[in-house]
């Protein structure tokens, strides 16, 4: 089965009809909304968050339509955008090898917020170095994003060694990394790089050239990129130059959530943080949910008592859903939406980390 069908069946199965098809699209695109981020944890599909950032909405829609016309997925309610696997879909899906869906590197999501920018910087750096090596006086840069251009410029200016030396180091570091990378991933990453008289290929072009599935190409590439970012974070000594393009963050929190966390640690209440940062209360709540998802060491008992947390989880399992509304109703409104989200988030983290907790029952 082609990868693109497999990934859709897999995600539909994980989402269990609790999110619309847009939810899957936003997950793959990596929409920076708390809903998408939270969903990726709730349904245990974090590796796929931001895995196909260049996905076109129309292409995605066509793929969903195709899965429908093959009767692999169906909508339990009429005219609904929520889908589950049909019995035929389940049959096909059960024969799939789940491991092949997720190359190892895809799981290294700790720098997911940085990966687009890092990739642009890397491409521009390689293009610039290649132009320098071939004495090309002018070239059309792969990106004009000011922050990217500026940081690559600074990186070249600050390197005290000569430019051809700098290029040689970059080359050596990249080779060192790529040799450790599965060949198909190394191929996908390198084929996209642009150099003198050798413009990089788009993912679509690579898919055509190799006869591979386009979605698979995207995933393999992301796996390679995330491997590289993890290598840099773990072994900075091996990547003194490539490492300069990556600001390694200790936590995977978004900048804004980190700011909120800092204030909360200084003793401010949720309400005070919102007021101080001129954010809405719900935005700050989003931050807390994000924090709960990404850092289980933070104490949340100020917002959610153990007792209420337990009740929420019981209600969730009784209602057999992760949708907030039915849970809230079952609890006769004793918990706020925020508290329910928080409880579900903590539960998702627990289950994700518990080796005995299975993700599919």
């Amino acid at each position: 089965m082609e990868y693109r069908y497999a990934i859709i069946l897999y995600l539909v199965n994980q989402f269990r009809g609790e999110r619309t098809i847009s939810g899957i699209y936003h997950l793959l695109k990596g929409k920076k909304s708390s809903q998408s981020i939270q969903d990726s944890f709730l349904f245990h599909v974090e590796p796929f968050f931001h895995s196909c950032e260049d996905l076109d909405r129309r292409d995605f829609k066509a793929l969903i339509d195709e899965c429908m016309s093959r009767r692999w997925i169906s909508s339990p309610e009429q005219d609904s955008q929520r889908f589950v696997l049909s019995s035929e879909g389940e049959r096909v899906f059960s024969r799939l090898d789940g491991h092949l869906l997720t190359p190892e590197g895809l799981n290294f999501t700790e720098q997911v917020n940085e990966e687009s920018r890092f990739w642009l910087k890397l491409q521009l750096m390689v293009q610039t170095l290649s132009a320098l090596l071939y004495h090309q006086r002018a070239f059309l840069p792969i990106t004009r994003q000011p922050s990217v251009t500026e940081s690559v410029r600074r990186c070249i200016m600050e390197a005290s060694l000569g430019r051809s030396k700098l290029a040689a180091y970059f080359y050596r570091e990249l080779v060192y990394f790529l040799q450790r990378c599965p060949a198909s991933e190394a191929e996908l990453l390198t084929a996209q790089l642009t150099g003198y008289k050798m413009s990089g290929l788009t993912v679509k072009q690579i898919a055509e050239l190799t006869g591979k599935d386009e979605y698979e190409c995207r995933i393999l590439f992301k796996s390679a990129l995330r491997r590289l970012m993890r290598e840099i974070a773990e072994f900075p000594n091996y990547y003194p130059y490539t490492g300069r393009l990556l600001i390694v963050k200790k936590s995977a929190l978004s900048l804004s959530a980190e700011e909120t966390l800092k204030l909360i640690r200084s003793g401010l209440s949720l309400h005070e943080v919102a007021k101080k940062r001129r954010l809405s209360q719900s935005t700050v709540e989003d931050h807390l949910v994000e924090i709960a998802l990404k850092d289980r060491t933070i104490d949340m008992s100020n917002y959610l008592s153990d007792r209420l947390e337990k009740q929420i989880l019981e209600a969730a399992s009784e209602a057999k859903t992760k949708q907030l509304k039915p849970i809230k109703k079952l609890l006769l409104d004793r918990a706020s939406y925020f508290q329910i989200r928080l409880a579900l988030a903590k539960e998702a983290v627990r289950r994700g980390e518990d080796p005995n907790g299975t993700t599919d029952e």
């Binding site: 090596l133 002018a138 059309l140 990106t143 080359y171 050798m198 290929l201």
Partner: protein, 515 residues
């Protein structure tokens, strides 16, 4: 043309020729260039109409080395600006910079802090209206005020830019340096508009023919899309490449690229506005670097693209104006060698340009609703981009959104927005009818039974000087003259290798050392 040169002038021209040889490597000026340069060097305001591919940038680049001060070039398009900066860098000019909205603020202030070292400064009209920029510029000497794509100043032009309307005022603020207004095509009405709006005085006109004599023209009438594709494949299997195929929509570009790749094995890619910026840039670079034989694209591709050896321009769908058509075929054979422009025409294609024209303006319902919401304070004008986006979210095209913005921004306090509804509608009707006229001109070209070249020249009040051997399908055109030497390219192209080590080594020039 007729005027005799005095000694001083002939001396200047001799110097200019010297620069042309030394800096640009050409022995002689192309037609039109010398006249423009001569007028510019004498300090006159000049209006120059020079067709795409006639080397108009030489006209301000050469004076840049002879006059004292900065040559300021106002350019409406980022891609255009980028390309021109690159071309100057390629000949070794280091003192060339660009100022546009996409730059990092730090880089912008670096440029402004070192204005005195700059010889050529490219700038977007929006940037020129910024106070800090204008102040910095008023402190240095400007030798020449170049308005590129000058037709953008005219409401009648096909590409009106409201920011161009302030150029006359800005120029006078900067001490009225001599002005060179350049455009590829402009009919008489647009020309008058430009001269008036830019406040050009005692202006010298240099009007070159729009005729691109080295591009042969043909129109093929067909019944259906299937027939078009069949004809296109036949053509592409024979004629010289690289080439461009212009299509009306992104789906078509993808579809045709797919068919050509599979049927003919040509290195083919597609390009349209719906693609990610990085992907667009990659495809563009591939085409410029000769990694592609054929590019299927929408009209989003082309501005600021400088590839001299494009041999073929195909129109799979026809554009809405003669002007756009000439611009697009003008991308062929800028190196002066023989090129070919083929247009496939099926009656039913008309709905594409008609659709474009409709999309240029808001419909009554949207217009009325937007004005009402402005009155109620539900929509706000403070942030231009936010306003434009919110209109686009309601289904307006970018041009339509801009149209509304340009009309409501002048509504003064205390005035009712809804009160300009009729006025807007009148403007829409007016502009629409201009565009429909242009479309009917285009259709007359397609259906004409006489020489195609004579037809388009007559649109610009020109006549043909002499008959060409390879003129057009009406004059008789055999495709044999355009056939490529070996019909099937089967060489291995190094840029297509997927072996990562080999690829990386080439990029880093390591293959030349030993590994």
């Amino acid at each position: 043309m007729g005027r005799l040169m005095n000694d001083h002038e002939s001396d200047l021209i001799a110097q200019a020729r010297d620069i042309l040889k030394k800096k640009f490597g050409y022995d002689q000026f192309r037609s039109g260039q010398q006249q423009v340069i001569q007028e510019v060097l004498s300090g006159h305001d000049v209006f120059a109409m020079m067709p795409t591919g006639s080397g108009k940038s030489i006209c301000y680049e050469v004076p840049g080395y002879l006059l004292e001060g900065i040559v300021l070039i106002i350019s409406p398009l980022l891609s255009l600006m980028e390309d021109q900066v690159n071309q100057l860098r390629e000949i070794g000019e280091k003192n060339v910079r660009a100022l546009n909205g996409l730059m990092h603020p730090e880089e912008r202030s670096r440029v402004l802090a070192h204005l005195r070292d700059i010889r050529f400064l490219f700038i977007s009209p929006e940037m020129l209206r910024q106070h800090s920029v204008l102040t910095a510029l008023s402190r240095v000497k400007l030798s020449l005020f170049v308005v590129d794509e000058a037709h953008c100043v005219s409401q009648w032009g096909h590409d009106f830019r409201p920011d161009y309307l302030y150029l006359a005022e800005i120029r006078s603020h900067l001490g009225n340096p001599a002005c060179l207004a350049v455009t590829a095509t402009a009919d008489e009405r647009v020309r008058e508009d430009i001269v008036r709006s830019l406040d050009l005085r005692a202006v010298n006109y240099v009007l070159m023919s729009v005729d691109r004599r080295n591009i042969a023209l043909a129109v093929h009438k067909v019944k259906s899309s299937e027939e078009k594709i069949e004809e296109l494949c036949k053509l592409l299997s024979k004629v010289q490449l690289p080439g461009i195929v212009y299509c009306a929509g992104r789906d078509w570009t993808e579809k045709i690229a797919d068919i050509i790749r599979q049927k003919l094995g040509l290195r083919t890619a597609f390009y349209h506005g719906g693609m990610e910026a990085v992907d667009r840039r990659k495809i563009q670079n591939q085409f410029l670097d000769g990694q592609l034989d054929l590019l299927c694209c929408t009209n989003a591709f082309g501005m600021g693209i400088n590839k001299p050896d494009i041999r073929l321009v195909v129109h799979f769908h026809f554009p809405a104006t003669m002007n756009a058509y000439l611009q697009e075929i003008g991308r062929a054979s800028r190196d002066g060698k023989q090129g070919l422009a083929i247009l496939y025409y099926a009656e039913q294609d008309e709905h594409y340009p008609l659709g474009f024209i409709d999309a240029n303006f808001p419909d009554d319902t949207l217009l009325r609703q937007v004005l009402r919401e402005l009155d109620q304070g539900l929509l706000k004008l403070e942030k231009k981009e936010t306003f434009l986006t919110s209109l686009q979210d309601r289904g307006a095209s970018e041009t339509a959104a801009r149209f509304i913005f340009e009309n409501v921004r002048f509504v003064t306090r205390g005035m009712n927005y809804s009160s300009i509804f009729e006025e807007c509608r009148k403007k829409i009707t007016e502009r629409r009818s201009v565009q429909l006229n242009e479309l009917s001109m285009m259709k007359r070209y397609l259906n004409s039974t006489t020489c195609r070249r004579a037809f388009y020249l007559s649109v610009y009040n020109e006549s043909q000087s002499e008959k060409l051997d390879l003129c057009c399908d009406q004059c008789g055109l055999s495709l044999e003259a355009f056939e490529r030497a070996c019909p099937q390219t089967s060489d291995v192209h190094p840029e297509q290798t997927l072996d990562w080590h080999q690829r990386l080594a080439t990029i880093f020039r390591e293959s030349e050392r030993d590994i």
